[in-house]
Structures are given as structure tokens and as C-alpha cells.
């Protein structure tokens, strides 16, 4: 591994922040290589959540009393923190959602209401099921048609084909920023520019981007950006949907209930302004505050350093794993983030994953919620090792030796 970034990166101190990394699994120190599914949480985030319930808990935006005001202030400060995390120009454009899945469903259900028969929505062949199914459901309701950008053998998007798919019929493009199954970093700026040329709006699924480096929604130029907090050291059940103000204001509400209204009467109800229009019911206050603490934690480590450290780690892992005979990496895009998907010979991912688990190495096996992509590669699934900034070269070495042993047993 190139020791440039690694040397100055305070990995020892960072690992000490994560209580779960001290766990033993099957008698061995846990090697956690499944952060793409859900990351671990540092003590700082856990403390913030506990603090909130111990000292600040009350419903937000409702009470006249001091405690409710304090909870509301913390909740809205968290929104501001998250706006800054993705460089959103206006914190009112930041909507709390349960996660990436809900963010996509919200846009499909509300913005999507304007689509008509024959309108075309473009997704890619490498999408997570959560960026496929909501659009299929929308197509069923509206008569719009789903078009799919093909994926090249190396796991990159076929941008020539994308260009050909775009037309005046295209109303929407929804593409993943970083692939959870392959690690490919997609050229999102170009994707947005090309879509805008034909007048289509763009949503970027940032679930695998926000945990690994700086994201700037203004520089990307997208219209919507959504991600899950639990993949970036935050608590489960909380994520963000960001959208451009004019678009959000033009959209009908998603869920109905308290908080999202301006005035309710049986003659007719008027809706609150953004972001509250999209936040019906009591929000996940501890989740919001916990997620902001996660963003603060990652920012304090410097997101550029995180990105560099992880890039070095992935390069090291790819080089070392490639030495195993018969191992092939699935997804060899020129730009990748923190994911190493692989197969060995004709060994089944389930077998490899089981034997890795027995050796205390936690990886994910299967289709990674990307069945169309696995079909595209003609494979039942992969073994996926995914890295976070709290992983080390020792973790990689354990992965290599455990895989070597598993391969020997299965040969």
C-alpha cells in the first residue's frame, strides 16, 4: 500500500472510536468488510443519540416550552449540517426521509405524477432494486416507459448508449452515483448535463457516495440527490433527499398528516412550505441529530483524507486478492470506490462467504439487490468485500488469507 495518505491518517485512534470493531467473531477479532450494506457507528454518534434522549427529548415544532424549543433547534441545526455536508445552497431544500429508498419513492410518487403515456424514464443496468422498482411502479401507473443504460464489461456505464437513449421523450434520469455491487463511480456531471440538454430532470442515488468522500450537489448539477445515513456512520432509519427548491415547490406532497399542513379544514387543506410539506408526522428526531453527528465526525476526519485512504486500501486489496489463482474481480472500472466484488473459478459465492465467516471475516455474498446486473454478467452473485475508513491493511491481509484457505477447501 502506498503509505502517503495512510501515514498521516489516524487509523488507530479512529478504530478506537468504534466499539463494535473490538468484537470477536468465531474466536477471532472481527474483520468487518460489509460497510456498503451498513457502516459501523462511532462512539460520538452513539453518545449524541443517548444525550438527546437523556437531555433534549421533546416533540419538535409543537411545544411552547423550552425543551421542545431545544429539540427543535437541534433538529433544524442537524438539517443545516446535512445541507453543508452535500453543499446544498439552501437548507430548506433538505428533506428528512427514512433513507435512500424512501427518497427515491418520494420523487417517483410526487414529481412523477406529471408523467404521461409515452414519456421515458432512464435508469441504468447497475441500479440497486430501490432505484428500479419505484420507477417500474410509476410506469405502471402513468404509462411512462422505462429505458435502461447498458453496462460495459468492466462495469462502467455505456455512455454512448446513454446518449442514444436520450430524446425529447426523456422526462427523467435516475442513476446511481457509486455502484454498491461493483464500486464504479459514474460520471454524474456528464450524466446530468446530457439529460438537461433534452430537458429531463435527474436524480442521483448517493447511497454509496456520501460515506466515502466529498459530495457537492451543486457541482454535480443534479436536480435531486438522496442517501441513507446508516451507510455513513449514522443511525438506521434516517436519510436525506435534497432537491432544487423550484422543483420541490412544484411537487405535490407525499404523505398526508401533521406537520406538512398549513391549514386543515374539511372544505380543503393547504400545505406547508418546503421542507415541511414532505415531512408528515413526528420525524425521527434522534435519527436526524445522530446523522448530523456522523457527518460532523466524518468531516472532522477530513473527507478528502478519507477518500485517499480508502483508495489506497482498495488498490492494495485489489492487488493482493488478484494474486489468488482463479480469482476474478467483477467491476474493474477506472474509477472505483471501496468495493471489491469477486468470484473464484466456478466456486459459489455462498460457499466462499460461509468459509470466510467461519474465519471471522464478514463479507456480503449474493446479488446485492442488483439482480439485473448479476444477470448481465451471467453470474449468480459475487462475494463483496466493501471497505470503510476504519478498515486497515491488516483487514485486507486477513481477507486474503481467509480467501486462500477457503479456496483450498473448495478446490
Amino acid at each position: 500500500m502506498q503509505k502517503t495518505a495512510a501515514k498521516s491518517f489516524p487509523i488507530e485512534r479512529i478504530r478506537a472510536d468504534f466499539p463494535i470493531l473490538q468484537t470477536e467473531m468465531n474466536g477471532k477479532p472481527l474483520v468487518f468488510l460489509d460497510s456498503a450494506a451498513s457502516s459501523q457507528k462511532p462512539q460520538q454518534v452513539l453518545d449524541t443519540i443517548e444525550q438527546y434522549y437523556e437531555h433534549d427529548n421533546a416533540n419538535v415544532h409543537r411545544g411552547v416550552y423550552a425543551l421542545s424549543q431545544r429539540a427543535t433547534d437541534a433538529f433544524e441545526a442537524a438539517r443545516k449540517t446535512m445541507a453543508a455536508y452535500i453543499n446544498a445552497p439552501d437548507e430548506h431544500e433538505v428533506i428528512w426521509v427514512r433513507g435512500c429508498t424512501e427518497g427515491i419513492n418520494l420523487v417517483a410518487s410526487t414529481y412523477g405524477q406529471r408523467f404521461k403515456t409515452g414519456d421515458e424514464i432512464i435508469v441504468s443496468h447497475m441500479e440497486h432494486h430501490s432505484n428500479i422498482v419505484p420507477w417500474q411502479m410509476l410506469c405502471e401507473r402513468t404509462g411512462a416507459v422505462l429505458k435502461v443504460i447498458p453496462v460495459l464489461d468492466n462495469g462502467e456505464l455505456d455512455m454512448t448508449a446513454y446518449k442514444e437513449l436520450l430524446s425529447e421523450r426523456t422526462v427523467f434520469v435516475s442513476v446511481v452515483h457509486v455502484s454498491n455491487a461493483l464500486g464504479t463511480v459514474n460520471p454524474v456531471v456528464e450524466i446530468c448535463n446530457m439529460a438537461h440538454e433534452v430537458g429531463a430532470s435527474v436524480l442521483i442515488d448517493g447511497a454509496q457516495a456520501t460515506p466515502h468522500g466529498k459530495v457537492d450537489v451543486q457541482a454535480i448539477g443534479c436536480d435531486f440527490y438522496t442517501f441513507s445515513g446508516h451507510k455513513m456512520c449514522g443511525p438506521t432509519g434516517q436519510g436525506i433527499l435534497w432537491g432544487k427548491r423550484a422543483l420541490l415547490e412544484s411537487m405535490p406532497p407525499y404523505h398526508g398528516g401533521g406537520e406538512m399542513i398549513d391549514k386543515v379544514s374539511f372544505e380543503g387543506t393547504t400545505y406547508n412550505v418546503i421542507p415541511f410539506k414532505f415531512e408528515a408526522g413526528t420525524p425521527n428526531m434522534a435519527g436526524a441529530i445522530g446523522l448530523a453527528a456522523a457527518a460532523d465526525y466524518m468531516t472532522s476526519l477530513d473527507l478528502d483524507s478519507i477518500e485517499q485512504y480508502e483508495a489506497d486500501l482498495l488498490a492494495y486489496a485489489t492487488a493482493e486478492m488478484s494474486k489468488i489463482e482463479g480469482l476474478r474481480v467483477i467491476g474493474t472500472a477506472s474509477e472505483k470506490h471501496s468495493v471489491l466484488s469477486f468470484l473464484v473459478g466456478d466456486m459459489h459465492p455462498y460457499d466462499l462467504g460461509t468459509l470466510l465467516d467461519k474465519q471471522g471475516v464478514a463479507v456480503r455474498t449474493g446479488h446485492h439487490c442488483c439482480q439485473p446486473l448479476m444477470e448481465r454478467f451471467g453470474i449468480p452473485g459475487t462475494v463483496r468485500a466493501s471497505f470503510a475508513f476504519y478498515n486497515t491493511t491488516e483487514d485486507v491481509d486477513r481477507l486474503v488469507s481467509a480467501t486462500t484457505r477457503a479456496v483450498k477447501m473448495l478446490s
Binding site: 467461519k358 455474498t365 446479488h367 477447501m409
Partner: protein, 145 residues
């Protein structure tokens, strides 16, 4: 041997292994040795869909008994299948219908039956019992009819 005796035999057999590696090596061997299912039955109709691995199961009555053959695309799943087949194959349908397969837990492989594994094994065990129940019901109907 009865179902209970066969289970006891497997538990005995696995007591030799005190380390996970030997145990899995044995399972992998069993998987390799599992007689192949007739390829005609390796179709959609006999497939038990798992998220992680696939299982194919075929059952055929032979008198009062049921004969099972099975296969999987993953070798560890296949090894575990071979144990299930060894216990339930060629047993009376009435016994299969009411059996409890405790041996998997006793030999420390219960994790493979957990729903999170979604390897098809859990559904396979259920399916084997359903075949037993259906066959037993039919025999019962014939006896009474």
C-alpha cells in the same frame, strides 16, 4: 434405521470434528458425493428458490415410503442437503410428516437454517415434510376408502 437412529448416527459422526474446518471439509465432501438428481428434475418446477443459493428437490413415493433426490448450486448447501436426504430418504411418509430434524442444531450447523441465510435449505426441509404429509394423507384416504 429409523429417522431418529439416522439422526443419532450423524450426530455421532460429527462428534469427531472439534474444529470448524474439519467439519466444513466433511460437509464439502458430502456435497461432492451427493448422488446427482436426475437432470430432468432440475427444472423450475423442482426448484426451491433461495436468495443466496438454489435447491432442487424431487420426491417419489415407493410403497409407503418416499424417495428423495436433491441438488444445489452451492457445495456447502449440497452437503447439508445430503444430510437431510440421508435422514429422510426411504422412510415412511407418516414418519416424515411428523419428524423434527434436531440433528442440524446438535452438530452446530443451525445457522444454515436461519432465514437470513436464505439458501433454500429451510424451505427444502419444509417441502420434504409437506411431501410426507401429502403422501400420508393419501395413504390414509386409501386405507379408509
Amino acid at each position: 434405521m429409523t429417522i431418529a437412529e439416522r439422526q443419532a448416527e450423524i450426530i455421532d459422526e460429527f462428534e469427531m470434528f472439534d474444529d470448524w474446518m474439519d467439519k466444513y471439509e466433511h460437509i464439502i465432501e458430502l456435497g461432492k458425493d451427493l448422488p446427482l438428481i436426475d437432470s430432468a428434475f432440475k427444472d423450475e418446477e423442482h426448484k426451491i428458490r433461495g436468495c443466496q443459493s438454489q435447491v432442487w428437490l424431487h420426491a417419489a413415493p415407493e410403497g409407503e415410503k418416499l424417495r428423495f433426490t436433491a441438488d444445489s448450486d452451492a457445495i456447502i448447501t449440497k452437503g447439508l442437503i445430503s444430510l437431510m436426504v440421508r435422514v429422510l430418504d426411504d422412510q415412511p411418509a407418516t414418519e416424515i410428516a411428523k419428524t423434527e430434524l434436531g440433528f442440524i442444531e446438535k452438530i452446530g450447523l443451525h445457522e444454515h437454517l436461519s432465514p437470513t441465510r436464505s439458501n433454500g435449505l429451510r424451505s427444502m426441509v419444509k417441502q420434504m415434510k409437506l411431501y410426507g404429509i401429502a403422501q400420508a394423507a393419501q395413504q390414509n384416504a386409501q386405507a379408509n376408502g
